[in-house]
Symmetry: D4
Subunit: 227 residues, 8 copies
């Protein structure tokens, strides 16, 4: 049935960014068919949740077509950087080094979309001085992606300190009542800090897209400041 | 112990918007003490979740100090509009007329903060033509707040059609497995549309603050487009 | 204790369709005993959730007796097609290519029961044009099985556009608050579109049986239109 | 904002049945506005979840316009029966007398839509003889709506005995682990009986619409049996 | 720390039955230490949840000391049957062949404790005739253990038909909203049939002990009928 | 529709005890209709969950027909004690005085059914000496109903000390993670004490019926000790 | 049955503090009986969750016997302060003024038990400067009770800043995914700050007792520093 | 990105104990980088949740640097015992031998921190005599860590018998409604025994830190008894 697969190639016209392929739960044959379709259409695509063992099972020719990163489990197909990068306007902040895969998925997705990022890691609230050291710099970013698992206290603290748009990315890090990220998700949603915006657990791709939507609107304004 | 209440009057300096008072679970005495503190400090405040019966129990002098709206259950204390309103750049979209209280809380909060809005109501996906009629106009807004309860399908459809920032506000409308808004919340978070950002169930205030953060960053850029 | 297994061979007389064997959680010895029982009784059966590795462990003679499909994980035992197929009156609609195994289970079960289907895949609401392109054709089907995971928005949109019977099959596709299909299930149940009927998560067999019950009642009417 | 309410008057053309108004969570002013809109449009409507105290608060003129039934909490506005009723082809089966409000909502909705029903009450499985006495008659109905709360065992037993389409309507009857209807819902979804179709807890309106969709498709076939 | 293990050898004096060893989550070294302790004490024991691969890893001498059954995953250590068995007074009834491991754990535990059982399998309610055929015989048993997963409708039907003590053993059979046995558990607890008594999901050992407690009290009465 | 109510008057022949009427969620008219039906049939019945305010709303003639107890919220209709009571063989044990309504429902139901009980209250494990003082007496009862809310630790301690049949009745006493009785329910089901049998939260009627089933089987044995 | 109530008067000998009466779910008659029992025994007691309307319904003589505080809903019966208070060694810290009832229950319980407290209110993390201002003082307390609802971020921040024992008291403040305090509870339990100890939602009495146990052990050491 | 890892080396100054490394979800490369960082800083660290297979994959040089214990899955890096141990003042009490890994994590962590412990194992309440035998000794400990899974009844019984600080460590031991430790967690939180303090499921490290905080405050008092 793979010949029936229909990709949403019109997405860039509607949304200003292109469809990504969520590789989880797709068969090897489906992934190959999708890659062929993308190349035949002369476009590019981003693949997410491409597990290392799935990548390793691919034909060498397929593997060579991909720019693959095992930490974030993302791959770029037919992608080239778009000229000189602009200075980073999106900060990616993470609470602990266990959250690195999700933070990396954010960064890789934004790089693919042509947005520069700066990473701040290991600034969880249990060692508050690490966060406080960075506050002045963080206040200069119009968009911050806050990556946190377990109790998810980082976004609440951050939300009271900086004026930028905060996209909270809860992660499944933790055990017991961390409940696979649910506690971090709920803490971000129920935060007493005003105006936090939240995406699904471990959804680094979605957090990046949300951040990109903001950046895109800012860019449009910069291009047409009276609009 | 009410004399110990400490309000966060420094918030505007940090976040560009001021603290709101969540009236739910506060005693009448606490509310009066807070209002006195605000007036003594010479500032203004927004009160949310101020139920009509609590408002009705207030002393006449207190009631007169407030600009109260019973649909959104919000009140303005010591507030005056800030000059001529700019054209609306935030759309507030709702799926059904049962979601009007939450949509009104968004609008009232944004009005308080000095941001104009335009409302689109009754455009849930069960009568898709109503949404499709509005798409072209919605595509011109940099920020959309999408209010939906029950199955929460509206944000997913919207997210595939417009490029702006979408803040999803799930509501507790519905019964059975609507689970007090949880299904609408989860549908927004698990959406196949990319880059939706979500706030807590019935948190119209939070959705407004998230939208304001985006608008604020856009305004800063418009003021300093090269930054 | 396998000699005690009692199959429900009388089911066709009561329900017009025969018992299927859910292979999950049955031991290899139980599966062999059941197949022997079916053949000894001179009848046929459908096996569901027969995982590839279980199939591969079977004796070659057993494997040869089966018409096995690894995508849907179904097998036909002692089955032959019943004459010329009628034109399809059941549409199987799926939101994404990750839902293919469940859609295939629907199709394979209906084929086994003698009902023709037509598949529509990749018409999730995030790329709404794909669904809108197919609406006119979908409106001609008396029964539609709508397969969707993640936010499960497809059935809600469909339910407002077509008059036929809609059987919603939520799938466990997704992660985080998709909760193994619970969000798609709840969204279908709490839909604002009227008259959606829902089956258990990933229960392609059950969705097919529900669709067949409808088709069967339509056929009876066609045979005796005044009844 | 009530002047912005937009009703989906085109629904009958798309779905063959008209929009109903869910009165829960709507203000008195909203209900009046909706009724005025319906009358101004020269059409009819069904109102569900119209609680007796809300009905009692209505202006006498409004109350007189309505055909109100307090058991099912439904009202008909501007409705007249459509000629001679046909013999009932939908059975409404309920397990206990505590489920009467939900069963009545099914019946009232179907009457509104022009479909005759026959009720079978108090045939829960704890007194199995009551169900067995009715099986032969129930086997003649093309559609059965099975209403059950608590353990929800009725649909499973029924599903193994009759060939018709079974729409399961779980109810919130019960306490403790009945969990407001969740156990009955889950039991219907997880049933070992094949091909049960399920609607949301206490959603009598939705169960009726699902049954009507089936009846409608049967009627179309009867009208054009070769289609 | 294994030398610190303290077994409850006094249990038979208090409860009339001896402690069993739940092997799940115990290390191989712990299991060996426990077996040695039991033998040193000159008593016997029952081991439950002893997985085949754990059994296979044991030293040959240890394996030979055990009467092991892989279906129920139970082992007897140092056990000999206690004379001629009495006629069975406990029926073990199961809904489907997927529940065989749990039913076998009940039977093996009761055999170990010196109580005879009779098994009735595959009498789930989806094929009601199989249950109805057995009702007259089942009515003669003072104790019935009813084993059922998925929707767990069997105990409710049984509870309305027989006067004996009914111990419900929900199983984790099923998928989706079966929720690992929770739906079967809740259905048994919320049953409209009066006087069902329930044990934990998959707890065949516990169901057997509950049945044994009843049998034991009946035996005491038989021995001293005036007590 | 009340004329359609069908009571299960044959239950005593099947189960040795008669149907009870769960009054919750029944309308006043339904209750009156049921009482009339019972009296017309010349039999008796037990009414449970008959709230004081519902009782107070009844017609005086109806109230006089009932033996009503407000603590247990039970009523007897047309009931007379059956001769001299036998010595109590069922102990009703409760952890705290907050559980008195549920314990009273057990006792009232058993009295109705003709079984004597002895109550032991306030013997929760937080003051263990109170339980230990009663152990020797409790060991003489063939059946114990253990009533406990909050953490539900009483059944586990009891289960290790006495050989009789233990029916656990979890109650909704408590707050926070007591979760309306769920924690007490789960603690009883997951108990490390062997052979506890459990009924639904607050289901005093069900606990009594389960206890009665045991007593009934013991009585049969006493009458025919060789059976 | 109230004459059967048995209070645990021996508790002070075992635990160094006396039993409290949880008034929720106790009838007025039960409360009176308990108060009489306490007075007859010549001792004192603490009553918790004594709602203002229950207090108002008491006989005047009973009301006069009590030192009642409506904010914390606690009452002292027969209590007198034990000499000069020592300097406070327990800090009670709360995130917002909505948490005042729970914080007051902690303070009132500790006062009853003879332990001095100091309150710090409104130091939630959304206005971090309020917490940072107090850190140096908080570091001098051996025990801190941290009261927080909603996202419950306060304990995590505190736990990384102070060395004392931290008892976390989650509150049911909040809405939506605050889930009646569950999110605050889970955030405290899953905290990345090491060594937080947690009590049940809204359990101010329990938090006070936990704090008192620590203080009591410290006092014993102070009295016998070499032990 | 591993060069960006920032450890919280200042923690001992703030909290009197040092940061531990939670190895779960960290890559092999991250663990090596962290160990190098610790050694370069000339300090020590504790590693928790270091699974045997991860340990086995380490380079031999890395393995040799560690004092590794496979039961508790903990490792000490660069650690030496601090002089003569003081007599144990913390008791570690566990209900069953299945809880040994968690109890061992408590003990190993406290040993690392320089606190002596005494273990009491297999004293679950199902064999109450084992607990009662130890009560007098347990009453002499200022701090008790109570480790229990399944129904978690041990802390409730203990809490009514001893005056010391009780840290409850629920474990994921058990199946079915044990829910991976949730029932034990909830039972400890909802306990009727006053003043239990609870940590996350399986969080032996956290329980040890909570116990250490208490011991540390006691030691400070012993050093400065008038403080």
């Amino acid at each position: 049935m793979n010949e029936q697969i229909r990709l949403d190639f019109q997405r860039p016209e509607r949304l200003d960014f292109d469809e990504a392929i969520l590789c989880a739960r797709k068969s090897d044959a489906q992934l190959t068919a999708i890659m062929d379709r993308v190349l035949a259409h002369g476009t590019r695509c981003l693949m997410t949740r491409l597990e290392p063992d799935v990548f390793a099972r691919m034909a060498p020719a397929d593997r060579e077509r991909l720019d693959y990163d095992p930490v974030s489990r993302t791959a770029y197909l037919n992608w080239t950087p778009a000229g000189e990068p602009e200075p980073p306007r999106i900060a990616v902040v993470s609470a602990g080094s266990s959250d690195m895969p999700q933070a990396a998925e954010v960064t890789r997705t934004l790089t693919y979309l042509g947005a520069s990022t700066k990473q701040f890691i290991d600034i969880g609230v249990a060692g508050l001085w690490r966060l406080l050291e960075s506050v002045d710099e963080l206040r200069t970013f119009p968009v911050i992606v806050a990556v946190a698992g377990m109790d998810g206290a980082l976004p609440s603290v951050l939300g009271g300190l900086v004026p930028g748009v905060i996209i909270c990315l809860p992660t499944s890090t933790g055990y017991g009542v961390s409940n696979g990220g649910e506690t971090a998700l709920h803490a971000a949603l129920a935060s007493c800090a005003p105006g936090l915006a939240v995406v699904n657990i471990d959804n680094g791709y979605g957090a990046a897209c949300a951040a990109f939507r903001v950046l895109n609107m800012i860019r449009r304004t910069a291009a047409a400041p009276n609009g």
